[in-house]
């Protein structure tokens, strides 16, 4: 046996023995549920002790599975391995099946078949859906036909038929997004960039140059000046019709600085996001699974801890 395999086998055996001992001693990872309006909702161990809630086997198994899958995925940080591959395959499979089921019940049934055959859908699938046709209900045959055409690519012949609905999807998406970007990101951003570089404090009147200087809000004015300088410098940097030499070169260098600061801020935010996700998973492992800590106060104190 290789030394690395031996080390990992011993570590896993020790961790497994510790988990077994903890589970047998404290019932770690047990999830309690109580009934609210006929639905099962998660409860605290205190409520379990008081007899209001009861342990749920399915949810407890769920916590164990979530913990094991978390460790399987985290194991990739060490190196690629069969546990990671297994967890990855399960995620892909479950996600695909989930999308299919959700798509069927939230789109096809209420928004297509419910419009075309309301009586049938009302009787068979969704009793609260209207059982009468809307005005112009026959227009819904168009998406039905386009949908069938899209599925035609699975047939051995006539795959080209699927290009027509695809063209429709691409065309409409491009149109919708073009309008959205022009309005919200192009025109509105130009308007938002037009700022006064001499912002006056509340109550100050610009009656003369001296009055403007006296009533100037220095911080807000500096902020606006910085913003306008940044927009202009970055625009010059991306303006390639003039060689970046002389004044244009100097301004474009300022633009690079602005861009670098932006990328740095974006990287900082990304780091913060990833650390939050790691903290969340570790909190889950330490709290919900291992009961090493109890920040929500959901268990008696002597149930929480290392021993």
């Amino acid at each position: 046996m290789k030394r690395e395999t031996l080390v990992w086998t011993v570590l896993l055996a020790v961790a497994g023995a510790y988990l077994l001992w903890r589970t047998a001693s404290f019932g770690g990872a047990t999830v309690y549920v109580r009934s609210v309006d006929g639905l099962q909702t998660t409860a605290t161990a205190w409520e379990g002790m008081a007899g209001i809630a009861r342990p749920s086997i399915s949810r407890t198994v769920g916590v164990w599975m979530a913990a094991i899958f978390t460790l399987c995925i985290m194991s990739f940080a060490y190196k690629d391995n069969p546990f990671y591959k297994f967890a990855e395959a399960v995620v892909v499979g479950v996600s695909a099946a989930y999308w299919m089921v959700v798509g069927f019940w939230t789109t096809l049934i209420p928004n297509l078949f419910g419009k075309l055959f309301p009586t049938w859908i009302n009787a068979w699938a969704i009793p609260d859906l209207s059982s009468v046709h809307d005005d112009n209900w026959f227009f819904y045959f168009i998406p039905l036909v386009l949908g069938v055409m899209l599925l035609w690519r699975l047939a051995p012949k006539g795959a080209w038929i699927a290009r027509w609905p695809l063209a429709f999807i691409i065309g409409t998406t491009a149109g919708i997004r073009l309008v959205g970007y022009i309005h919200a990101d192009f025109l509105s951003q130009i308007r938002n960039s037009i700022k006064s570089v001499a912002v006056l404090q509340a109550g100050a009147e610009p009656t003369s140059a001296a009055a403007v200087l006296a009533g100037l809000d220095p911080w807000q004015s500096a902020k606006n000046l910085l913003l306008i300088a940044g927009v202009l410098a970055c625009l010059v940097y991306f303006f390639f019709s003039v060689e970046h030499k002389g004044l244009a070169g100097k301004v474009s260098k300022v633009g690079i600085w602005y861009l670098m600061i932006t990328f740095g801020a974006a990287f900082g935010y990304t780091v913060m996001g990833r650390i939050a996700l790691l903290a969340f998973r570790l909190e889950f492992l330490f709290d919900d699974w291992l009961w090493l800590l109890d920040p929500r106060g959901s268990r008696p104190p002597d149930w929480t801890g290392w021993w």
Partner: protein
């Protein structure tokens, strides 16, 4: 020594980061938070509305971003409950309805049991179509939302009877993990209807830099990642109490590991640069 650091296995870095996050969690280190003006604006957008206002809460995220966005979703929901606002939950992400249910169970059913489903809050569920959904419901809600997530006809839900479009709501609160999310809500709801639609929200760290240009004209309030969530929690706790409830302080708790991990990150960046330049100088000397 320099050679050792130049060829250091990156897994040692992973281990250091794991410890930097795990130790503050296990020791339950907490640090004080001072809310920034942007988070205060977000808080006041909800708080300054009169009691009983209609708030559309769009939970556009999934379990992969729960760690960042779950705390702010909980804080928004609790704040709306405290202000007795009417809450209409929707989702553009397929697992949104489950996360909405989670929020309803954790906040509304456990701490505000007097609120009635259908009168004080409702879960209208998920609709596929991304920005297409926003584009439709901004003028006609009922064209897509004919039932709630359980299949109850929207006309049988008392609080929905007079709602014809997104413009009928006093505020939209969007918790966004990416596409479709806050950017699309700004593009297709807030920008075309600036007088009728007011949007605030929270987002992941990765998407935050894309949203800052919309502040404040198109987006008057934004919670950027877990830091924004922690500051918002602080404001809600200061005004409405609840320090004994751990579930309302998840963001504040996660700022402990953030601080230590960020210090480690800065140290690693500095160390990496020092090692790089020292190595380059040694090469030149040769």
């Amino acid at each position: 020594m320099l050679k050792f650091f130049e060829n250091l296995d990156r897994r040692w870095i992973f281990l250091m980061m794991l410890l930097a996050v795990a130790i503050p969690i296990l020791c339950q280190w907490r640090f004080p938070e001072t809310p920034t003006p942007l988070v205060r604006d977000t808080f006041h957008a909800v708080d300054d509305l009169p009691e009983g206002s209609d708030i559309l809460l769009a939970w556009d995220y999934d379990p992969a971003s729960e760690g960042e966005l779950g705390p702010m979703a909980t804080a928004f929901a609790r704040h709306c409950c405290e202000k007795k606002h009417k809450m209409y939950f929707i989702a553009l992400w397929p697992v949104g309805p489950q996360l909405i249910d989670d929020t309803i169970n954790r906040v509304i059913k456990s701490d505000f049991p007097h609120l009635v489903e259908g009168e004080d809050y409702c879960n209208l569920g998920f609709k596929p179509g991304n920005e297409g959904v926003i584009k439709v419901i901004v003028t006609d809600l009922r064209q897509l939302y004919t039932t709630d997530h359980r299949g109850t006809n929207i006309d049988k839900i008392p609080m929905c009877r007079d709602k014809r479009s997104v413009r009928d709501f006093d505020l939209i609160v969007e918790v966004s993990a990416g596409y479709a999310g806050l950017k699309e809500w700004v593009q297709y709801a807030a920008t075309p209807y600036p007088e009728d639609v007011k949007i605030i929200g929270g987002c992941t760290g990765v998407t935050a830099p894309q949203l800052y240009p919309y502040i404040p004209e198109q987006l008057p309030g934004l919670l950027g990642a877990i830091k924004g969530a922690a500051e918002y929690e602080k404001l809600v706790l200061d005004k409405y109490g609840g320090e004994e409830e751990g579930k309302y302080q998840e963001g504040l708790r996660r700022m402990g590991p953030q601080l230590v991990a960020h210090l480690l990150m800065i140290a690693l960046i500095v160390a990496g640069n020092v090692i790089f330049f020292a190595g380059r100088r040694r090469e030149k000397q040769r």
